[in-house]
Point group: C2
Chain length 427, copies 2
């Protein structure tokens, strides 16, 4: 009853349609490590949230945040040693070409900077992205998001089919032929841009295609598309908001899928809950952006962002979370893969470290997506104390993306719950 | 030397051209209340920063931030009582029509929401703003900013001359005639939009025209422009990022300049340094936005934003900061006005609570802006321990915008320094 009343108040105060997870929404009142607790004191294993990458209520992050806010937190047009040190440390995590960084407050803002930068550097205007991408919610960045794309309004933007070995563009092709088929569609998108006079400024993509459902990618596609974009005069933006910061077992998704982007964007996990995002690139690219745009972001590049950002990096290193993501993620993926033969509704299991997708289907021959089952499975797991969600182009992919502190013991517990739900739900 | 070296490192890590204040930049290492301290332990009275509205390192804000981050801080697709309570309290500060709110992480994001909302509600696309406005740094919002406007790329955007009694659109007009003259230019902007097929979606303006230099506004202009925009089918967006949250002695700038906006945007001071911004409007406007856009912002609408946002409101009320802004601001404005006759370089002094502009000129007849003197005065005041900046269309306006805890005693000290600088600089 109290929850109904809270939800009614929320529908007024935040407007009707502010999204809530689950048929019966959760009221979350406490968190610790990988666990969240609801208003009835019930404990859940968080297997969805990538923001609290070093754990909910991580004490080192709380301490850094409180100490810095109690010392000073003011904008970046004064000198602050900490923000420079953080910027140096951040760029140092990337490949050698990445020298400079523009901080901001959200992935949306960081992608805005990346696209504006690419357009300034290349002198071109056109953008390409996949047909199931999401990169943020501003008008520009939203025009790259499959939820929002309105062809009539998306001047200068084209989408191409995301690479996928499970639902391939064409049947009966070898891995190499499939790669060629996808690249041809990318070329089509670029050619279509040119017909409206927009040469290519940038390809923007998540390096593991997180919103697309973490598909298996035809061999060679990532380096080939990078080369293609460069030949066309464009830059490659790697949107690492979901894939970066240790998620895949590497610092960056682009290391996992093997290519060399020109601009790196990251956000969510950087601040473990403090709004903090970044756009990093070669120094001359960042210089060109700054010279043209006079960019300033009041609450970014602050001592607070620096202190919290450093604490998060310290914790990732201290807790050896890249290794944890690789080891626990690999095992969980393997265990789930072994269930493809047990449950007919599981079509495919794919993973990159601690980002794992379980594709739910109605029929193994047609591979028809089972959206209802995916949603039911998510609700069943919630009722058993495990929080996941669903995504993918057809919304039939169970999305498993826990804080990086998710353990082998959590994996064991989850598999028991998963099997119980699947036995109940798998017709 | 150490500072030079830090600046060189900064030019690499953040890119060359990341703006710094003052000829010799300050390295700020600590803050408390209205004071900032540099790396040599020197104390400055902060008369520029509106973000730390309840004071640098405000202990109540630090406590709320640390306690919430140590409890839970997770996204808004779970229920959280605190974010609903904060939203109710926030909308309650506004005029009666304002019922619902969309939280975000920056003024840029909040203005994006406002414009997208206005376009959805009206079904129109056109936007008007003043010719010296700044509303943020995304591509859409940046197209409304005088620093960035490129007529070739600003489809659907027109600028009109900001209302100003000191540098009026035409000489020799009565107050009423001047108002009519400005309104005619607004009509011209709207008509120009129509010639490219864009009916009016919104007027966006700061209600005290902060970036324009806080001009004195011809009587009746604010209500007349609101009525005009409504007749044309558009909405009025009040960008309260600088003018709101007690700055003018009222909660909102629109109360001070006397009109009734349809959409309210606020940002900077809301979180006293935590990224926190909001777009508030009638419930049916917010519902329409949510139904069309499926808006989600990971680090916004969180328990952390709610806890810090509530602590800031508590402190504004506990410290009676609206009254303080009105009383101290009025006195400081009066004192500065009395110096117009003392120093020939002061052309005009204008104030709205604790937002005060001092317009520096070369000649009282021509009123030619004195940009060099403005900059020198800002540097001189810094050397004497008072931090201000400059703005305005001609960058010749000393911008005084201290934390709301700025006191009468601070005013006394400042006036001594101001007089000393003016005696040195005033040719």
């Amino acid at each position: 009853m109290a929850k109904d009343s809270l939800q009614r108040r929320r529908d007024i105060a935040l407007g009707f349609g502010a999204e809530l997870f689950y048929d019966t929404p959760l009221e979350i009142v406490r968190g610790e490590g990988v666990y969240l607790y609801d208003n009835d004191g019930r404990r859940y294993v968080d297997m969805y949230n990538n923001v609290p990458c070093v754990g909910h209520a991580n004490p080192a992050v709380v301490h850094a945040m409180a100490e810095q806010q109690a010392t000073v937190n003011v904008h970046g047009r004064y000198l602050h040693e900490s923000i420079v040190t953080f910027a140096e440390r951040f760029t140092g995590l990337n490949h050698d070409d990445i020298e400079s960084v523009v901080f901001s407050c959200s992935g949306t803002e960081a992608n805005e900077v990346a696209i504006q930068m690419a357009r300034i550097v290349t002198g071109n205007h056109g953008l390409i992205c996949t047909d199931a991408a999401y990169h943020g919610n501003s008008e520009l960045v939203g025009s790259l998001s499959y939820l929002w794309i309105d062809p009539l309004k998306s001047r200068g933007v084209r989408a191409f089919p995301y690479p996928d070995c499970y639902r391939p563009l064409a049947e009966g092709l070898s891995d190499g032929e499939l790669c060629e088929a996808y690249l041809a569609r990318v070329e089509t998108a670029i050619d279509s841009l040119k017909t409206e006079g927009a040469d290519l400024a940038a390809l923007i993509m998540c390096p593991i295609f997180a919103n697309e459902g973490v598909p298996d990618i035809p061999s060679g596609f990532m380096t080939d598309i990078t080369n293609l974009v460069h030949r066309e005069g464009g830059l490659v933006i790697s949107d690492e908001v979901q894939s970066g910061y240790g998620r895949t077992g590497c610092w960056w998704g682009y290391e996992t899928t093997g290519f060399r982007p020109d601009i790196i964007v990251t956000g969510k996990p950087m601040g473990n809950g403090l709004p903090l995002a970044a756009t990093a690139a070669r120094k001359d690219f960042v210089d060109a952006f700054r010279s043209k745009k006079d960019y300033f972001n009041t609450c970014a590049s602050t001592p607070l962002q620096a202190a919290v950002g450093m604490a998060v990096l310290d914790e990732i290193e201290r807790l050896d979370l890249l290794r944890n993501a690789a080891e626990v993620g690999t095992r969980l993926t393997r265990e789930l893969k072994s269930r493809i033969d047990l449950y007919s509704a599981i079509g495919d299991v794919r993973g990159c470290g601690l980002f794992i997708s379980v594709e739910m289907i109605k029929d193994s021959d047609t591979r028809e997506p089972d959206v209802t089952l995916t949603s039911s499975l998510s609700d069943c797991l919630k009722d058993k104390g495990f929080l996941v969600s669903h995504s993918g182009k057809f919304d039939n992919v169970l999305k498993i993306r826990p804080p990086l502190v998710f353990s082998h013991a959590n994996t064991d517990d989850f598999l028991v719950a998963f099997d119980a739900c699947m036995r109940d739900l798998d017709g």
